[in-house]
Amino acid sequence: MILDNKIPAGPLEDKWTNYKAKVPLVSPSNKRNLEVIIIGTGLAGASAAASLAEMGYKVKTFCFQDSPRRAHSIAAQGGINAAKNYQNDGDSTYRLFYDTIKGGDYRAREANVYRLAEVSASIIDQCVAQGVPFAREYGGTLDNRSFGGVQVSRTFYARGQTGQQLLLGAYSALSRQISKGNVQMFNRHEMLDIVKIDGKARGVIVRNLVTGEYQRHFGHAVVLATGGYGNVYYLSTNAMGSNVTASWKAHKKGAMFANPSYTQIHPTCIPVSGEYQSKLTLMSESLRNDGRIWVPLKKGDKRRPIDIPEEERDYYLERRYPAFGNLVPRDVASRAAKERCDAGYGVGSTGLAVFLDFEDSIKRLGKEVVASRYGNLFEMYQKITGEDPYKMPMRIFPAVHYTMGGLWVDYDLMTTVPGLYAIGECNFSDHGANRLGASALMQGLADGYFVLPYTIGKYLSDDIRTPAISTEDEQFEKAEKEAKNRVNKLLNNNGNRSVESFHRELGKVVWDHCGMSRNKNDLEKAIETIKDLKAEFWTNVSVPGEENVINPELAKAGRVADFIELGELMMRDALARDESCGGHFREEHQTDEGEALRDDTNFAFTSAWEFSGEKTPSKLNKETLEFENVQLTQRSYK
């Protein structure tokens, strides 16, 4: 299959402007007859739903939580980037573009990233107008902080709850459209399949999670905004319900899955404390602005950190990367922590932790200033660990946090299935092999508020003569039947292992072999392990309860089944990419200093995997990445 990324011609800076000027429009009277289905109401989905409804389209939205306000986006802490240059520190659209391309280790598409940087400033304006209470300076202007991997201050924030405030902004815009009758919202509904008619996405099958009822919904176009799949690792900083099901079902219906193995392992999370652990908690990257990371110089030093004198500490990030210090990008910081712990310098009961220390900042700024910047994070740390970070350095360790991989989309954000779009974290678009901090919120809102509303018009303008298709159509019938059969199979399996136990086992395999470092041998073995796990799942899983009442085990079973299949594809992807780049570190490819070694001659492409049936391994397609505006260099933060 030939991948057409539909990048408009012309100079980088003019592409989006020209695109918008020329894109066909849909008249208001036609918009009223065009129905759009949006799955997911996080930042990407809620902002898209509100914007499309404001424009006059008929919108239906779905989420699995009890309210759109609870999407995983709510948990984002640190902030959102925008090239406003309010700090007059030399920021610009080009610099944000360049930082993102470089931060992604030259594995993202130039045109998409430039557009992202270009619309970033409007996002802040939009959110301020909605009443998002961003942090302010005493003079009343918006405040900024800096984030890892860059040397300007372009991150806007609302204490440590930026995602919450941005999502509540989008939720309020969505609520306004619901009250006007322009959006029909379905809470506690889960999408189980995409319906394709004549090759185009024309609807979905969903299940009401309260009553178990199956429903068919028609749409002229379908938009997935279903978030990331970090929970394939079992332990991650994602919300418990985050899953890959919608993307995976789309993949099986013909949407290609891009770079599935590109995962972001976030350097500053609270370490695992025991077997019972259900999820991991992120400590915002903003902490690295004022916290210093270190381990003892002596192996296995069991003294309390405050008893270890300065000269017996190794501030390894400052030592290895003097230019960026504690603010190196996430992939670099995570690998450096792993390196120290593997070498035996890790701290804490498991030896899998490093210190994040605020002593110097408290001395320099005073406790009050530190509290005003990070108070809620310190509190959260104390609640979870029972230790006071004002007195004792935090213990942190890397954890799975974000998935750069996702459904392949073209410049229009359309997948390889016509009429099926993917926005937000569930697409692969802008972050290459490593995402910079505060850029996911930016991308989700850029996609939803400012990109999709234009690009979807291009497709729908061709569709104004298509009347609503009846959900009695045989394709709806067939998809619903398949979804039902699968649920029945899960419920009547009579196995004797819990869904949870399969998920935990899968997570361990994926973490061990497709985590912070990867190698050929392990990956090959892991593919076989996961195949066996899949077979065992379908013979031995036990799902209690009934179909027509709330049944969280049943919902989880469906998700874990999809995670298992995704796990295998991740291994294949990591195996095929015989180079290191960003978060993808192949042990076979590193510099003498242990940094990731890219191979631009052979691997400057996006891997787009095509589903080829249950029995045949997926097929790899390549989208070549053309760099016309930046020069590929070895990424250096020294």
């Binding site: 304006d125 609520s175 009442v549």
Partner: protein
């Protein structure tokens, strides 16, 4: 510490129409570093393996921010720790041998769906009645064109920190949603962007709250005491003030 043993008394109700009853369970060998929900995970995994129906409860972020978790623990919404959601409550706050009672939010406008899960869609409908600023995508002026003093921004933030969990309603003997409504009304009426719809908003939201069957506020302060985000009663005073102001302004 390892090996915490507890007796749990959990509300089980198979569907909205079922009468429901407490059922007792023993859990043993718990670790005090566990969160309360991880403790329930342990129980549920045991129930699954023996083919029993696990306890249904709402949860998602497990970081105290999504507002999904919602249980009354020993008579208190979100349990004994001040300013803490159920998911952020850790087992180190319990003693070996304790009996712990776990119930859903109990309030007429939040009907029980199953076990500990209730229907809070009435909160969404209150927001839909006016908890927003009417601004279409693309029509916003530059973010810095409207200076807002740090003090006002911080005050608005304090109100905006509400996670919509409903503990305030569960704590209130009248099942009033005043704290929740006041938080949104205060956030938006403090900010200059919220001024054009200020009067309409408070009227619509208060009337929606009544229509959904929430009770009246009699100033017991139970809501503030149990709110995991420590939303201040001051905002209820502000809500009342805004409401009267809107009646005068018409």
């Amino acid at each position: 510490m390892e090996n915490l043993n507890l007796k749990l008394k959990i509300w089980r109700q198979s569907s909205p129409n079922d009468k429901g009853a407490f059922v007792s369970y023993d859990v043993s060998g718990l670790n005090t570093h566990m969160s309360f929900l991880e403790m329930l995970d342990v129980l549920n995994e045991k129930l699954v393996v023996t083919g029993d129906d696990p306890v249904a409860f709402d949860h998602d972020c497990r970081e105290g921010i999504c507002g999904m978790c919602s249980m009354v623990i020993n008579g208190k919404p979100h349990g004994p720790q001040k300013g803490t959601t159920t998911c952020q409550l850790h087992m180190r706050h319990f003693k070996d041998g304790d009996t712990v009672t776990i119930e859903p939010w109990r309030a007429k406008p939040f009907p029980v769906l199953k076990d500990l899960i209730v229907d809070r869609s009435s909160f969404d409908r209150i927001i839909q009645s006016g908890g927003y600023i009417s601004v279409n995508t693309g029509s916003a002026p530059d973010g810095n064109s409207l200076p807002i003093s740090k003090e006002i921004a911080e005050d608005a933030f304090d109100a905006a920190a509400c996670i919509g969990c409903g503990a305030c309603v569960a704590a209130c003997k009248n099942a009033s949603a005043s704290l929740f409504v006041s938080a949104k009304v205060s956030q938006l009426s403090l900010l200059p962007q919220g001024q054009p719809e200020r009067e309409e908003r408070v009227k619509n939201m208060v009337s929606k709250m009544d229509e959904e069957g929430f009770g009246h506020c009699t100033n017991t302060g139970a809501c503030e005491a149990e709110c995991p985000k420590e939303i201040s009663l001051e905002y209820i005073r502000k809500l009342n003030w805004e409401y009267h102001r809107s009646n005068i302004k018409g």
